[in-house]
């Protein structure tokens, strides 16, 4: 039991990261009808700003992180307002390809701005130390850092859902998501809605990146694994709702560590190398039978 709880406690941070990344991807997909492949590098860019604030300017993480968030928001809004809005013939697929192009641009820009050295940038955790509990005579430890991550994630995601449900902004986002053209005719400024969504997505992904630094050393590509997970979560949960991807984003990392746990319990520790393969395979199987995702609406195809 204690071993099981320990496995789950390690999974807390990855769950938070995937949830935030999936939310960022969903909110852009809903308002701009495109999958943003540059999300991971925008997050890295923000994380580099945070790291520069921490290490070069000697700021505390609680000041440096909002600066990084601001930088990523500015970058994301720039992408939407300057690039997407001025493309002459940009369709949904075109937007995706633009984000792929932007991936290379940002990846190249990071060493140009922050220095080309490949050294690992030390990145402080939010808070150090562990909390230990006793469960059935055995010790279960949780890092305080992961609890801070959970608190931040829950607060942010709850705020977004409340705003989506009850605020005027949420209404306009939902209207734009269901039909951009009609929403525009009803007097909603869809340009503002998409720009704000991009900014929000940028902010969420920087939060995710700051959490990732406690797991992986910072580099331009360090979020790409989580991005792939988040994309899969979005498909698994279905883009039809906002909460579907979030639920799937919780399921995927938990399922992955469950596979590792079961492998260790059953005496097959080599299973941990295969955990992502198994989880992806199962997700694909689910998607094959439920193409709209586990919490998906039904789409009627118009001919």
């Amino acid at each position: 039991m204690a071993y099981f709880l320990n496995t789950l406690s390690i999974t807390l941070t990855p769950v938070c990261i995937t949830v935030l990344a999936a939310m960022a991807i969903t909110i852009i997909f809903k308002t701009s009808y495109t999958a943003n492949f540059a999300q991971a590098v925008i997050a890295s860019f923000g994380a580099y700003v945070v790291a520069a604030g921490l290490n070069k300017a000697g700021l505390s993480i609680w000041i440096a992180m909002p600066l990084g968030v601001l930088a990523a928001v500015a970058l994301s809004v720039f992408i939407d307002v300057v690039i997407f809005r001025h493309g002459r013939y940009v369709n949904s697929l075109g937007k995706q390809i633009i984000t792929m192009g932007l991936t290379s641009v940002i990846v190249a820009a990071i060493p140009l701005i922050f220095g080309a050295s490949q050294e690992i940038i030390p990145f402080k955790k939010f808070i150090d130390g562990n909390l230990t509990f006793e469960v059935g005579g055995e010790l279960v430890s949780v890092t305080k850092n992961s609890l801070v991550c959970v608190a931040i994630t829950v607060a942010v995601i709850a705020a977004i859902f409340i705003l989506l449900k009850y605020s005027k902004w949420g209404l306009s986002v939902r209207a734009t998501a269901s039909n951009e053209y009609v929403a525009g005719m009803m007097g909603i400024n869809t340009h503002v809605v998409t720009a704000v969504s991009w900014g929000l997505a940028g902010a969420l992904s920087v939060l995710a990146a700051c959490m990732t630094t406690s797991i992986y050393p910072l580099n331009a590509y360090f979020m790409s694994n989580y991005q792939v997970n988040a994309f899969l979560a979005c498909i698994l949960g279905g883009f039809a709702t906002f909460h579907g991807p979030v639920i799937a984003a919780i399921i995927i990392p938990v399922a992955s560590s469950l596979v590792t746990y079961l492998g260790n319990v059953a005496g097959a520790p080599e299973l941990s190398g295969w955990s992502m393969v198994i989880v992806y395979g199962l997700s694909l199987l689910v998607i094959f039978f439920l193409p709209q995702g586990i919490i998906g609406g039904k789409t009627v195809k118009k001919v």
């Binding site: 493309g87 949904s92 633009i98 940002i106 792939v228 694909l284």
Partner: protein, 361 residues
């Protein structure tokens, strides 16, 4: 010879016959297959000069890797430009080739043809699986799903064997050194281009195009969605797998856990970007696009001292190029070339009109 000419051109003789012969030859030479062969010969000559160090040595090796990727890009062109299916699984599919090469040729010491056969067989299986998925899920969802599938394959590769080293590529019992890889790759690329061209102009190509424009209309015309979607994915996967075989033979090492390696998302995105930059419905476009994404760096920019000092600027420039092409030239460079060709023709016509007046031939 005379008898043959008489049979073909009947009783025509003298100037009339000569004119007919030139016309026929011109028509035959207009067949794109000759262009592909000519391209192959040019590259072989460049490869020969480069491998004997008459011109820069890195030009040959750079072109070899670029054209190995181009094989995957041509397959992707068929999938996206002609069947309208978006896939981001290219990276994972390339791995099929590298791993068959490593295990069949490197470990089991079997001939290349066995490795090729295994790679194609596995590619067919994977292609059929993806094809079946594509029947249920479409568009952007399919793209992300294939990205997931590619990631499954990559994790599988990491779990099986992370780092591959391979250096005994033999063809018909002759060891092929690294500098000679460009010959093998160019010949394969030209064969692939010719096969793809024939496929595109055949009823299969037309069926795929119909499917791309409207699945409902295509089905109404009696085109089986399942057959052609599976076929498109199978061909694309086979090409990617062959490209993987050649990449393994050319680069001699691969690392699955590398997030910028062969099987990573970056490769899939780069191949997609290459096809988009070049123009989705043009084989030449796919080639030019791949050259921009992969070749420019090794062949052109690495020669310029400024870029040698700042290699990231190349990634920067290629990214901006992708963005600009999508923003202003959705048809890709193929469209740009066509427009330039049209412009030259118009200019030519105007000059003639200015010279001889209107209504002259």
């Amino acid at each position: 010879m005379n008898k043959f000419l008489r049979q073909k051109y009947g009783l025509l003789d003298g100037n009339a016959r000569n004119r007919r012969i030139t016309d026929d030859m011109r028509r035959a030479l207009a067949n794109p297959i000759w262009h592909y062969l000519l391209f192959g010969v040019v590259i072989l000559v460049i490869g020969f000069l480069s491998s004997n160090r008459i011109i820069s040595y890195s030009l040959g090796t750079g072109l070899a890797t670029t054209f190995a990727y181009a094989i995957a890009a041509v397959g992707f062109c068929l999938l996206m430009g002609y069947s309208g299916l978006a896939s981001l699984g290219t990276g994972g599919f390339i791995g099929i080739g590298t791993y068959s090469m490593y295990y069949i040729m490197g470990e089991a010491k079997l001939p290349f043809i066995v490795a090729l056969a295994v790679a194609i067989a596995v590619a067919i299986v994977i292609g059929v699986i993806v094809g079946f998925i594509s029947l249920r899920i479409e568009g952007i969802y399919l793209a992300i799903l294939t990205l997931g599938l590619s990631e499954i394959l990559r994790q599988l590769y990491v779990a099986v064997k992370d780092s591959l080293n391979f250096n005994n590529f033999k063809l018909f019992g002759i060891a092929i050194p690294n500098r000679a890889m460009i010959y093998v790759i160019t010949v394969t690329l030209v064969i692939v281009m010719i096969i793809t061209h024939n496929l595109i102009v055949s009823p299969t190509g037309r069926a795929m195009l119909a499917m791309k424009n409207s699945t409902a209309a295509a089905q109404a015309m009696g085109i089986s969605l399942m057959k052609y979607r599976l076929l498109a994915f199978v061909i694309c996967t086979i090409y990617a797998s062959v490209s993987g075989l050649l990449l393994m033979a050319a680069t001699r090492s691969a690392m699955a856990s590398n997030t910028t390696g062969f099987y990573a998302m970056v490769t899939s995105l780069n191949i997609l970007a290459a096809v988009i930059i070049g123009g989705t419905r043009s084989i030449w476009g796919a080639l030019v696009g791949t050259f921009i994404m992969y070749g420019l760096q090794t062949v052109v920019f690495n020669k310029i001292p400024f870029f040698q000092r700042n290699p990231v600027i190349i990634t920067f420039v290629s990214g901006i190029l992708v963005v600009l092409v999508v923003m202003f030239y959705p048809g890709g460079l193929a469209q740009l070339l066509a427009e330039i060709k049209n412009g030259v023709k118009k200019l030519h016509k105007k000059i003639r009109e200015g010279k001889y007046g209107k209504d002259v031939g």
